[in-house]
């Protein structure tokens, strides 16, 4: 055996140049990532500094006073809880079943493709067009009036793709062998889904549901004309009442109320963003925990 030529293992000029180019691009893309993220973090920090002082138990649990120039945001918070709950009751069952259809029943054909296209469109149609739809369909045509029901239906239609996509993904993560084993025992399709597929994907579905809570709570335009109002002295008692909502409340205190204390809108923004980001973090943590304990 001859000893290896040492020059063979030395980086040539070309190698070094390539390595330098790679380093430069790595740096460039890293900087771009940083530039994308930093302003947002700065903005969030500003919100925290300016709005932090407004947050208190009293702020969260009292009604606005003095023409919304002071006081808390309790009616808006409660209204958002109402809107999100009703929207979820409507969209989660339909969304989960739609995902079951797409994952367990639908073949790979043009019809399924049209359904997928419809889902993308449902998510992609501007929120204000959803508002027009909600107004035309639920408020006027079905005569629900401007009410929690109409607003929640609008939100449900708009955010359903979130549940469908998340559920479909977690259903498809269940290995086909699980289903085949079950079918071989003589189980029907539905028995297989209920006893094997759903129990194995329920946590993934929950992740999607939590994400939808966050999406629904943040939407403003679709509820503006369908059920949420700028101000009402009454708390909602049924789904046919109008209500205030956190997201719309932020818009109102930021643009419609002159002479408001500066920290109040910041406080509202902080509560809204806190709610949304908490929900998302829970969903992400859930997903990571799930990935860690996966058995297959």
């Amino acid at each position: 055996m001859t000893t290896a030529n040492p020059a063979l293992f030395q980086a040539s000029d070309l190698n070094q140049r390539n390595a330098r180019v790679q380093q430069r691009f790595r740096l460039l893309f890293g900087l771009m990532t940083l530039l994308l993220i930093t302003p947002v973090l700065l903005i969030l920090a500003t919100l925290l500094v300016k709005g932090g002082g407004a947050i208190s138990w009293e702020f969260l649990f009292t009604a606005p006073t003095d023409g919304m120039r002071s006081g808390g945001l309790f009616p808006a918070l409660l209204g958002t809880v109402w809107l999100v709950t009703v929207a979820l009751l409507l969209s989660v069952p339909i969304g989960v079943f739609a995902a079951i259809y797409l994952s367990e029943y639908a073949g790979d054909n043009w019809f399924t493709r049209i359904i997928n296209l419809a889902i993308i469109n449902l998510a992609g149609v501007p929120s204000i067009v959803h508002a027009l739809f909600g107004l035309g369909a639920f408020v006027l045509f079905f005569k629900f009036g401007t009410s929690i029901l109409a607003a929640s239906l609008t939100l449900a239609v708009m955010t359903m793709p979130v549940v469908i996509v998340a559920t479909r993904e977690s259903l498809q993560a269940v290995p086909p062998a699980f289903r085949e084993a079950c079918w071989n025992m003589g189980a029907t399709r539905w028995q297989t889904i209920r006893r094997v597929v759903l129990p194995n994907s329920i946590t993934g579905i929950l992740t999607g549901v939590i994400l939808e809570v966050s999406r629904t709570a943040g939407e403003t335009a679709p509820i503006m004309f369908t059920g949420a109002v700028f101000f009402t002295p009454f708390l909602p008692h049924s789904v046919l009442d109008q209500t205030m909502a956190l997201s719309l409340h932020l818009f109102v205190v930021a643009t419609q109320v002159p002479g408001i204390a500066e920290e109040l809108p910041f406080g509202v923004a902080l509560v809204l963003i806190g709610l949304v980001l908490t929900m998302n973090s829970v969903s992400i943590a859930f997903r990571m925990w799930l990935r860690g304990k996966k058995k297959w």
């Binding site: 339909i94 079943f97 889902i119 449902l122 067009v129 239609v157 966050s214 910041f266 809204l272």
Partner: protein, 315 residues
């Protein structure tokens, strides 16, 4: 058999209907569920058709009686609440939407592609996970919060930096919309890069290519369609954005000459004026007509994004 289901056998025996046992019931339940699931499955199609139907239903009166295509699309005069002689020209509104979306994409596209490449190809381990979580959280910030940021944080900053009277302008809304769309585009682009099979990268690396050469020569060409689809979805998202644009543009009907001009967007016009329009009146119908226009444009954008992305799957 007998040890496993005595109760089932019992029940089957006690059933009055001869020849209808538990397995028949399961069969019927299965068929019933299949029907329910199918109906839910096509609900997305029904909803999209429903949106088109109801928005058209409210706006159709104007389209058939008053709509003059030339006036509607080619004149910039928008004064719908004028009692004497209302004017419905949406050119200025289209210009507003286009300028803000265009600027936003100019900001967001290069940065989100760069960030996606960094996250998918260069970062690894904990850094990558942390960045992905961060991007996902940023994508979740509601649009009304972005509008608020444009109004109370960007506005004074722009006034101070550029010495302009009002900071609610194309630049403000463009930056806000760009920051808002970037995380979404980053995650779509990252998915597209992820969809390139690892064996492509391994083959290139085995030939002695550096990371950057792998990205530039192999991954980017392979993920081209997915990336383009992601950019298109981002454009659609920016185009349809309502609250942020409503609060950060200054809301003045105007064809912009510079970045510091206030403009008004199509979506924001509907949001601002629908509340004061009389139901069924002409103004109301015009706003729905704009809605139809918005629906059709986003439909086309989404359809082409889908076609482009499907292109690679076939090839």
């Amino acid at each position: 058999m007998t040890t496993r289901s005595p109760t089932l056998a019992h029940r089957a025996a006690a059933r009055p209907l001869a020849g209808f046992d538990r397995r028949d019931a399961d069969w019927y339940i299965d068929k019933l569920v299949a029907a329910v699931v199918f109906v839910c499955g096509i609900s997305a199609i029904l909803f999209v058709l429903g949106i088109f139907f109801f928005v058209t239903k409210e706006g159709i009166g104007f389209i058939f009686t008053k709509l003059d295509f030339r006036e509607f699309f080619l004149t910039p005069y928008w004064s719908p609440s004028d009692a004497e002689d209302p004017e419905y020209g949406i050119l200025a509104l289209i210009a507003g939407t286009a300028s803000v979306t265009g600027l936003a994409m100019l900001v967001a596209v290069p940065f989100s592609l760069g960030a996606a490449i960094f996250i998918a190809e260069f970062a690894s381990g904990k850094t990558r996970e942390a960045l992905k979580v961060l991007v996902e959280l940023l994508a979740a910030i509601p649009s009304v919060v972005w509008g608020f940021i444009g109004l109370v944080i960007m506005n004074p900053l722009l006034i101070k930096w550029f010495d302009i009277p009002v900071g609610l302008c194309v630049l403000n809304a463009g930056i806000i919309l760009g920051l808002m769309a970037a995380p979404i585009m980053t995650s779509i682009a990252e998915d597209a890069l992820k969809a390139v099979p690892d064996r492509y990268r391994e083959a290139a690396e085995a030939m002695g290519a550096t990371r950057w050469q792998v990205v530039y020569k192999v991954v980017l060409p392979a993920a081209k369609n997915g990336l383009l689809g992601g950019v298109l979805l981002g454009v659609g998202r920016g185009f349809g954005e309502t609250m942020a644009v409503l609060m950060a543009t200054g809301h003045a009907v105007n064809i912009p000459d510079s970045l510091f001009d206030s403009v008004r967007a199509l979506t924001a016009t509907i949001a601002a004026e629908l509340g004061e329009a009389v139901v069924g009146g002409e103004h109301y119908q015009v706003l729905f007509t704009i809605g139809i226009f918005l629906f059709l444009i986003t439909f086309i954008i989404n359809l082409s994004a889908d076609l482009i992305v499907r292109g690679i799957r076939k090839g």
